[in-house]
Symmetry: C2
Subunit: 310 residues, 2 copies
């Protein structure tokens, strides 16, 4: 039994780890991802991380896995177009570059898909063959596991769970559509709504003072506007999640990302809204919970992707 | 190569046919489904249809397939609970009853799933491995094929595509939720909206004079209210379909059911709305079209279900 290398490329950090086919990590490291450098520099950085791990072990390395932002053509292991936080990562031929350099089979997928895989295999949804994983932060992203496999979609663009409609003809969304879940329930929307409520009272905060954490803290001390803002966010999230549950009838819905750090009560409130809105047969089998693997999810998922090779 | 038996049980008719593993029919028949009789009577009727087909052929019959309204536990071939148009069909043990009687392996699934299978194998989506099929009539139902397989869901309740939200806190829906696509775009909602517009002019039609066909006829002669009603219906349908496309990134969306009979222009308008709302990467690969197999879809799908045995 060899060890696999898992890489998790982000806008800020590159996490890299060694682990086995069950997702158990034996080494775990992080370095800046150099995401604003040119593509060659980013690859050199990734190569140095791989070399560092190879130097550290005498084990056979049967495969390398990697999660990256952006849409990824899984078969080619190549970025489909651009990704906003890594400007020169456009069409990056990740699989080919790593395989050419190291001669080790490499598997690459979108980071949210890789996180969903990790949670479905050895995280919060470890006993589930179908999972929808929501990541709620600056945007709302997601990964979907159906029939134990990542749902990639016909152009590797499935699981855009932030871009389902909650209000037809509603607020404009960054994607060009109107009324998307992301436009109502991601962190910026939450902050905007809270500021708007505060304005009525004459209370003004600067943009950079406000964050979901701030709102959750205010809600914890019973500030009405904060509580209102959170309840509305849960209503929107619950509505969007319910739509997806009625279509996919999954075993589990997982909630992760910065906004989910608000704690158990937040998740419970979302769950309550979801259950009010979905079909009974869907509710009977559905579990709702929080992601479990935290910062390790990306490298664990990348290792599993490598181990499973699909 | 043998011939398969396909059965399509509906609230009015039981269609039954012989066909090969490509879905090509050699015999096609129909009789009343006796849907208001008790379960024994309905089964006797089904048995007589099977006997009639067995009498007609000397071919080996390797398997029987059937589509039925309601949620179906595919492994057990049994209805999950009730279905409104066949009152005594609750928990009907279809697979067991037919296998006990004829000793022929039997596969049973929800009728919308079976239709989607037929369209994906030898209908409008014959070259597609992922298809979302919408049936727009009194309600809005659907069937989903992903990775060439029927998406059944954790409790055999997937593809409730009529019950995704288009307007949060919108109109009440029969499912208990508010703002579902079905509450805005199924035939009854369309008729209600049209009547409401006519009231403004003092024009009154009796409930039973109005139908989607009537509205489409009026639109064809440029009646403003009819055109408005149809445009609104397309906006709702396009919004709901777009949400699902952004989540599943399928190769094809198919539209069927009574309301879809309005013709090519209706489908084209829905497609236009869908493309305005979905992510570009999803639009690049998506085809939108009308179902092709019409009244045969149910028996063809049942035959394919039997032939594939899954």
């Amino acid at each position: 039994m060899g060890l696999y290398i898992g890489l998790d490329l982000g806008g800020t950090n590159l996490k890299y780890a060694l682990g086995d086919e069950t997702g158990k990590l034996s080494t775990k490291k992080s370095m800046p991802s150099l995401s604003n450098e040119n593509q060659d520099k980013i690859f050199e950085n990734i190569f140095s991380a791989i070399e560092e791990l190879l130097d550290e072990t005498d084990s056979d390395i049967p495969a390398i896995g990697m999660g990256t932002p952006g849409s990824v053509n899984f078969e080619r292991g190549q970025l489909n177009g651009t990704t906003p936080n890594i400007p020169d990562w456009t069409n990056a031929p990740i699989k080919k570059s790593i395989e050419d350099k190291f001669g080790i089979p490499t598997y690459v997928d979108n980071d949210a898909n890789v996180v969903a895989l990790a949670e479905a295999r050895c995280g919060a949804a470890a006993d589930c063959s179908s999972v929808v994983c929501f990541t709620i932060g600056t945007g709302i992203g997601g990964g979907i596991i159906l029939d134990n496999k990542i749902l990639r979609g016909a152009s590797y663009s499935a699981a855009e769970v932030g871009h389902i409609t909650v209000e037809m003809n509603g607020k404009p969304c960054g994607c060009g559509n109107f009324g998307c879940l992301e436009a109502y329930a991601a962190a910026p929307a939450m902050i905007k709504r809270y500021r708007h409520k505060l304005k009525r009272t004459g209370l003004l905060y600067k943009e950079d003072q406000l964050s979901p954490e701030f709102i959750f803290q205010k809600a914890a001390v019973e500030e009405d506007f904060a509580i209102e803002t959170i309840n509305e966010t849960c209503d929107y999230l619950g509505t969007g999640i319910a739509s997806i549950v009625n279509v996919l009838n999954p075993e589990m819905v997982l909630i992760g990302g910065g906004v989910s750090e608000a704690g158990e009560e937040f998740i419970q409130r979302i769950e309550k809204v979801v259950r009010q809105k979905i079909m009974k047969a869907c509710s009977d089998v559905l579990k709702v919970g929080k992601v479990q693997l935290g910062n390790d999810a990306g490298v664990v998922g990348a290792i599993l992707l490598a181990a499973e090779g699909k």
